[in-house]
């Protein structure tokens, strides 16, 4: 939905963002123990208390924990008594943010807390992610997340859109940029490594780790009260492609392009893009789909190649883009989140700061 379709609807902004230090394992902490400091930090930076929050929405996956309804325990960290207005998506927190944004746009709430978390360390995340695939034709073959991304990478190489050195450069640039991000899991020079599934090497793949993120949204004047320079969400949209990967052209991401169009991202250039590309080859697909040129600063945080807490990495992209606007380092940023194999589902948000 764009602004044009809903004239008079209230502007909504990201007013605060916090994330954990993303790490290979956090086994000494339960999910709620990992999440709570992030919730406290994001609330403290706005001065809001739980009772002040109009709507709370979270994203996580039971398959990472291996336990049904695991997200209900995380609610302890929110202070859900007396009862709060709450919802959950079994997806990346970026989709929880979308739900919260709708709630604020419709006037049902003035503020929202959005959080998401994922602990990949207890299980084997490559195997865990096979369980999100079509159960008739794909899941029985156990094609893991790296294998599916590698098919996409080879398709790009065959199409002449990239080659292995160019992919390595994406990984190297991401980890070099992450050197300035204290929360990132992989920082600085990281060896390109051996093939995991050819043509992807370890350097083309995201680190496996645990982490959480939280964002506070506020509508209209409330946003200005809570934040010196709110990151206004000018548009946000998400799209999905056919679930059969053999039906799709893996070198393109029409869903990202349509989401970007509908979010208004292509109307004027952005200065920053936080792209949720867990694999180096997926950054190539997204840049092509969005028509981003060299003038756009892509993933100054290091992106998902530097830290990829499953279910939180997409929300982190929105948070990182917003934080750059809060700090005055960006005026108009694009944030992207993905979910599913080979960029199956894509969400694009456009964030802007007030003119300076």
């Amino acid at each position: 939905m764009t602004r044009e379709e809903a004239p008079g609807a209230r502007d909504v902004a990201v007013v605060a963002f916090a994330q954990t230090d993303h790490r290979r394992t956090s086994e000494e902490l339960s999910e709620v123990e990992m999440l709570m400091p992030v919730l406290h930090e994001v609330m403290a930076s706005t001065g809001l208390r739980t009772a002040d929050i109009g709507f709370t929405c979270s994203g996580s996956s039971d398959y990472l924990a291996g336990r049904a309804f695991s997200f209900t325990l995380a609610l302890d960290g929110v202070g859900a008594w007396p009862p709060i207005s709450e919802s959950h998506v079994e997806m990346d927190g970026a989709w929880a943010l979308y739900e919260a944004w709708v709630k604020l746009r419709t006037g049902d709430a003035d503020t929202a807390l959005v959080y998401s978390y994922g602990k990949s360390s207890p299980g084997s995340v490559r195997d865990v992610l096979t369980r999100q695939l079509d159960p008739y034709y794909l899941a029985p073959l156990w094609p893991d997340s790296v294998a599916l991304a590698a098919l996409q990478a080879q398709a790009l190489i065959d199409a002449g859109a990239t080659d292995e050195p160019a992919l390595a450069a994406v990984g190297a640039r991401s980890r070099a940029d992450a050197a300035g991000n204290p929360h990132a899991q992989l920082r600085g020079a990281v060896p390109q490594g051996e093939y995991l599934v050819r043509p992807l090497r370890t350097g083309d793949c995201p680190p496996i780790g645990d982490g959480a993120a939280a964002v506070v949204l506020a509508a209209g004047e409330r946003a200005r009260d809570l934040c010196e320079r709110p990151a206004w969400i000018r548009g946000i949209d998400h799209r999905i492609e056919a679930h059969g990967i053999g039906v799709r052209d893996l070198t393109d991401s029409p869903s990202t392009r349509i989401a970007a169009e509908r979010a208004g991202a292509l109307e004027r250039p952005v200065d920053t893009a936080e792209l949720h590309a867990p694999f180096s080859s997926q950054e190539v697909v997204l840049r092509r789909a969005l028509g981003l040129d060299e003038t756009v600063r892509v993933n100054p945080s290091g992106g998902a190649l530097a830290a990829n807490p499953i279910m939180a990495a997409g929300l982190v992209r929105i948070g990182e883009a917003a934080a750059r606007i809060h700090r005055g380092e960006s005026d108009r940023a694009l944030a992207h989140a993905t979910s599913g194999p080979c960029l199956q589902q894509n969400l694009v948000a456009v964030l802007e700061g007030d003119p300076r």
Binding site: S30, M36, Y63, G79, S121
Partner: protein, 313 residues
């Protein structure tokens, strides 16, 4: 404090799924060494077939046989096969457009090495010896340089068409309960029950989960509770659970241990089931070598006054 507890946790489930007419025809066809696709309104043949057109969302039922030979549209060399994958030796993941199809099927290609695989190469289906009506009835693809195999034009009608699949799923985890619950479990082994006090509202949570759900803050102050407590409410269980050697009927109760801010649950024994009541005073019973209480039994004290536990119901 001692190290955080960890234990292996295996989640295993045979997902039983029904299939619609198109999937049934496709999977039954595999059992009979026939590959079927489905034709969309604009004449495209989708393999594997779906029941609704991915572009128009129209229902599609027009089955068409395609060849067991085809062309690799993209591939990825998997030198280290993982559990459950089609081949145990190194292989290529491939998307194959079968002759007569417009879309590609994902599967494995048996090849000696990555040098023997390229996009555009010709391959054919290698059928599994035992076939049951599943995607794994295709054992894998293999290189093929012969003529395309002409499909016989099968109608998609089969004797004893399959109506469902069983998709076995197993995932292995190393479960860790975190700091607070590790402390609780370790204390149980010493026949002590500990909770954690909220620094804000002072309520004692047992078992502790590391957070006060009311205040949303971390709880850290460890407090020993019980051992005796009060039955706040209960139910009588009349159906015997599988693999449970407890005679029915038995009583399952909420028990507010002395000093705890909320009730935990446990089985009541040592008293006829129909004499358990709200307010009954009970204590935990550890059997020899047990790491947690087996059940709770009456202490013999007078019943607790309703007012002393009404907030804990």
């Amino acid at each position: 404090m001692s190290a955080i507890l960890k234990a292996p946790l295996t989640v295993e489930f045979p997902f039983t799924r029904s299939v619609g007419p198109v999937q049934s025809a496709f999977l039954t066809g595999l059992r009979e060494r026939v590959v079927l696709g489905v034709r969309t309104g604009d004449g495209k043949v989708l393999v594997p077939p779906v029941e609704y057109d991915p572009v128009t969302a129209e229902e599609i039922r027009d089955l068409v046989e395609v060849a067991p030979t085809g062309t690799v549209t993209t591939w990825a060399w998997n030198h280290e096969p993982r559990r459950g994958q089609p081949l145990a030796t190194p292989f290529a993941w491939v998307l194959v457009r079968l002759d007569g199809a417009d879309t590609a099927l994902l599967h494995a290609l048996d090849a000696p090495g990555p040098g023997a695989v390229r996009t555009g190469m010709r391959v054919r289906v290698r059928w599994a010896e035992e076939r049951s009506g599943a995607i794994t009835d295709i054992a894998c693809f293999e290189p093929y340089d012969g003529q395309p195999v002409e499909p016989a034009g099968h109608s998609g009608e089969f004797q004893e068409a399959i109506t469902g699949i069983v998709a076995a799923a197993r995932l292995d985890y190393t479960y860790s309960p975190g700091r607070a619950q590790t402390g609780y479990i370790e204390a149980l082994g010493d026949r002590r029950i500990v909770g954690e006090r909220c620094p804000s509202c002072r309520k004692v949570y047992v078992p502790p989960r590391g957070a006060c759900p009311t205040c949303g803050v971390a709880t850290e102050e460890r407090v020993e509770v019980g051992p005796a407590g009060t039955v706040t409410t209960f139910c009588i269980v009349n159906i015997k659970a599988k693999n449970l050697d407890i005679e029915v009927p038995y009583v399952y109760a909420h028990i507010a241990l002395d000093g705890a801010g909320l009730a935990l649950h446990g089985r009541i024994a040592g008293i006829p089931y129909d004499q358990v009541r709200m307010g009954l005073r009970v204590e935990p019973v550890w059997t020899e070598g047990a790491r947690y209480p087996d059940h709770y039994r009456p202490t013999g004290e007078p019943d607790a006054d309703y007012d002393t536990f009404k907030e804990l119901l």
